[in-house]
């Protein structure tokens, strides 16, 4: 997750006592969980297309998530069956340990991953180890889905009757962006703010292309 970094958290008790902790001292999954909550989410206007992972399934379902700015390429995708299936998408980082994204929704049916290019997945081999099976997928680079998404965004604006230039000035920008996302059929994978940031990113890209629908 990119964007502004929280520094402190305070828990206020009903007897008036408040306990403060450094945000960085909290366990990582708890920090992630807190930042998922809309109450603590902040928009990341600096997020560019290189900060988002777009996941598309065989059934057309599409999710987006924002990743650490240090992520530089897809490492691999595989699914562990135990018998429940869990997908693991790992992204290489240039300067630290990889980022690991768990895919819970139909992991064997993930069709493509878009991150710095779009890659189609196909099952390469399955390896049984005791009661679990690891299914490893190969990644084949295909035409970038992002260009299509910009066009879909533009179409959604027209269909919803929304002016691109007025989009960032609206007080209800979040609701408008959600409306566009719904029409495009994209949902947030783990944090609603990621979806809003992605939509804002598409809007910026469209502005740069200079092709406002109105």
């Amino acid at each position: 997750m990119s964007g502004p970094i929280p520094k402190k958290i305070t828990v206020q008790y009903d007897d008036g006592i408040g306990i403060e902790a450094n945000f960085a001292d909290l366990p990582y999954p708890f920090r992630q969980e807190l930042l998922r909550q809309p109450a603590f989410s902040q928009a990341n206007p600096a997020a560019g297309k290189e900060n988002f992972v777009l996941l598309e399934w065989e059934d057309g379902w599409c999710e987006v998530l924002q990743v650490d700015p240090g992520c530089c390429e897809i490492n691999r995708y595989y699914v562990i069956s135990r018998p429940e299936d869990v997908g693991r998408l790992s992204l290489k980082k240039s300067d630290s340990y990889p980022e690991l994204i768990e895919i819970i929704r139909r992991p064997m049916e993930l069709k493509s991953v878009a991150f710095l290019g779009t890659y189609e997945l196909s099952l390469e081999r399955s390896v049984r180890e005791g009661k679990k099976v690891d299914h490893f997928f190969s990644l084949k680079k295909v035409d970038d889905i992002l260009e299509k998404e910009i066009k879909h965004f533009q179409m959604a604006l027209i269909e919803e009757g929304i002016d691109l230039e007025a989009l960032s000035n609206q007080g209800s920008a979040a609701r408008t962006l959600e409306k566009i996302a719904r029409r495009m059929g994209i949902v947030a994978s783990r944090r609603q703010q990621d979806l809003l940031d992605f939509m804002a990113c598409l809007a910026n890209m469209l502005r740069k292309q200079g092709s406002s629908p109105r």
Binding site: P27, Y28, R76, S90, Y97, R128, E129
Partner: protein, 245 residues
């Protein structure tokens, strides 16, 4: 096909013992609950999984990057490191049907030994991971000795026969020495059988030196090998292996 033998060697990892019980939620769950820091469990599991993504597999981490488990996952906490070592042994499973089969082989008066490359182990000989695991699991009553690249270790008194020192299963030199030693004791290679899961270390080099070989695919199937037999369960050994008089 019935194999009549006097000696039977078993590989250790993914054969005598199986890592199926070493699931991260259990390993790190038990560990951090014992340390009184249960709130850290999800983070520790995640970090270990991230480390796997860096090196490709847990095996790779354990073979060459244990220090990183200690540093990145366990924060160099000495108590956590100590407990990690203990839990690794406790949570290892013994291969399904193995003990029952070892009872049978022992009743046949077939000599049993562990033949291990000991790649994922640390610690002085005798207190290393494999030795400690065999002792913890009560398997020393079957395996008095263990042939390894660190020497042949007597698991009862921890003495070491250094003639195996520096030899490996993969390049076959360990099997050369083993064949020579068995020959000195009146056991020809074809009267000895090696059981293991890895074609490159347990099966092919032993087969090339005249040993009978059985590939165990009950935990993992690592593909085709030169094995004389392939088994899914250790219990199948009771039908295949007999004592050569």
């Amino acid at each position: 096909m019935i194999m009549k033998v006097k000696w039977c060697g078993f590989d250790f990892g993914q054969c005598v013992t199986e890592p199926g019980g070493l699931r991260n939620p259990r390993l790190y769950g038990d560990l951090y609950k014992e340390l009184g820091r249960p709130e850290l469990i999800p983070e520790k599991i995640l970090r270990y999984r991230i480390l796997k993504e860096k090196y490709g597999s847990y095996g790779e981490i354990k073979e060459g990057h244990r220090d990183e488990i200690y540093r990145f996952v366990l924060d160099n906490n000495p108590k956590a490191i100590e407990l990690f070592g203990q839990k690794e042994q406790e949570l290892l499973d013994v291969g399904d049907g193995l003990e029952d089969t070892l009872d049978y082989l022992q009743s046949q008066r077939i000599e049993l030994q562990v033949v291990s490359e000991m790649k994922k182990t640390l610690g002085p000989v005798g207190t290393d991971f494999v030795s400690r695991s065999l002792k913890t699991k009560g398997l020393v009553k079957y395996f008095k000795e263990m042939v390894t690249p660190q020497g042949k270790i007597n698991l009862e008194d921890n003495s070491i026969d250094l003639r195996y020192k520096g030899l490996t299963k993969e390049d076959g030199t360990l099997y050369d020495a083993l064949a020579q030693e068995l020959k000195e004791r009146g056991i020809a290679p074809h009267e000895a059988v090696m059981v293991g899961d890895k074609p490159d270390t347990d099966i092919n080099p032993a087969h090339d030196r005249g040993f009978r070989t059985i590939q165990y695919i009950g935990f993992i199937d690592l593909g085709k090998s030169k094995a004389d037999q392939v088994i899914r369960s250790f219990r199948e050994l009771k039908k295949i292996v007999r004592k050569k008089e």
